[in-house]
Amino acid sequence: MVNSKIAISTAAMIAIAAAWSGPASATGLSSNVVAEVAVETSAANVIQSMADQAMNELTDQSLADDVRRKKFVSLMDRYFAMDVVSRFVLGRYWRSISEAEIEEFSVLLQNYLALNYANQFKEFNGEQFVVGDETQKNKDTFVDSQFVRPDGPPVNIVWRMRMFDDSYKIIDVSIEGLSMGITQRDEFTSVIQQNNDDVGALTAALKAKTGL
């Protein structure tokens, strides 16, 4: 009886609904931060230029899907530390494959992400991207930003950046407190584990998804 009464209020749904549709928490965003920062290469500036470039290149509705995906991949090449991200999402399994296999995996990963995310830019209509404050925590700089939608609460996005050779590269993205890198790592390592610790099973699945 207890079960049937509380039955349908699925806990997962509550969790995920709160993640995506919950009201924006007060993150102290201020849109004029970018203007105040003098240094051209601040982490927030990097995010701003990436956003400008993405808005310019990806939102054109006449673009063919595969062209948009290619542009998305080259944006990732430029702004993400893909060598770090590729190893992070493999977890400790990165050790069990060769350098060439990591390179191959990295290309597959980028195309997989492009497949999942690039098309979202096609439907842009009236949304705005506002870059906010940056915070330093240990080795990383976290840049706050908000994706402001005309119909619904703003979405908080935090970019985790690290300095490599004097320039900031993105190593993780959190949307409403959920880390894409950690989610992807947990999913990918589970796929590898389910297949007797064989990374090849993951690469095969990515190939099937991306058609590469």
Partner: protein, 245 residues
């Protein structure tokens, strides 16, 4: 497991612990089939048919019906201000908000915050324990499952439902609306996730853990996790080091 790691810091789980995985995957599959037959079509219909104002009112009602528990758990977590805020919201929205269908308290600057007994246990340092996929309810863990039980018993509406037909009708109605609302609120994201993921079960498991961590720290900034188990965890520093080799 529940009492083993009590400390004064709120618990934040850093990796998935899923010793019951084979059973969980079966329950996950059954839940998906039941969802596909019942809740999913209802939520799709609701998404496409119901006008925006109706959806907003239902969302307010669903939050309002949970306020006594939010208040109770905030109090247990030693946060009387938040307990008072939730209680105040409940009184305002149930009266001038017309049975909770209008969230006037938010307009007055008292924001909603969900607190449940799982979060209360976590507040006192109790970790999630083994991951559990509950029949019909979906992703949970040992701590949060215990929390659901305590919240059920503590909910004034469930006492009322034992003694009054009106309260029982209200309770059952609220359960139905809650299910419909949350399924609708997550429908686009879950569709996307199901389509894009390679292991939907593992992706949901990770998101559940992260979402609970976030609720436990009340939306505060994510702490730099201390690595508890080197063999199980692989953090960003490890990845940077790996890439530089």
């Amino acid at each position: 497991m529940l009492t083993a790691c009590a400390s004064t810091e709120p618990a934040q789980d850093t990796s998935d612990y899923d010793p019951l995985e084979p059973v969980n995957r079966v329950v996950h599959g059954v839940n998906g089939a039941v969802d596909f037959m019942v809740l999913y079509p209802a939520a799709m219909w609701y998404r496409d048919i119901a006008p925006e104002p109706v959806k907003t009112s239902v969302a307010s009602f669903v939050r309002n019906i949970n306020e006594p528990l939010n208040s109770f758990n905030a109090l247990l977590q030693g946060d009387p201000d938040q307990a008072a805020a939730s209680f105040q919201r409940f009184i305002m929205n149930s009266t001038i908000g017309l049975l909770g269908f209008n969230d006037v308290a938010s307009d007055f600057g008292i924001p909603y915050r969900r607190e449940d007994f799982g979060q209360t246990l976590a507040h006192y340092g109790i970790g999630g324990g083994p991951y559990i996929v509950l029949p019909l309810l979906g992703p949970s863990n040992l701590r949060d499952t215990a929390g659901i039980g305590v919240d059920y018993v503590a909910n004034p509406l469930t006492w009322g439902a034992q003694n009054s037909d009106t309260a029982e009708a209200l309770y059952l109605g609220s359960v139905g609306l809650t299910a419909l609302h949350y399924r609708y609120a997550t429908i686009n994201q879950l569709n996307e996730l199901q389509k894009s993921s390679i292991d939907y079960y593992a992706a949901l498991r990770s998101l559940y853990r992260q979402q609970r961590n976030k609720m436990i720290r009340n939306g505060g900034p994510s702490p730099e996790f201390a690595v508890e188990d080197e063999s199980a965890s692989f953090d960003f520093d490890d990845a940077v080091e790996a890439a530089s080799k």
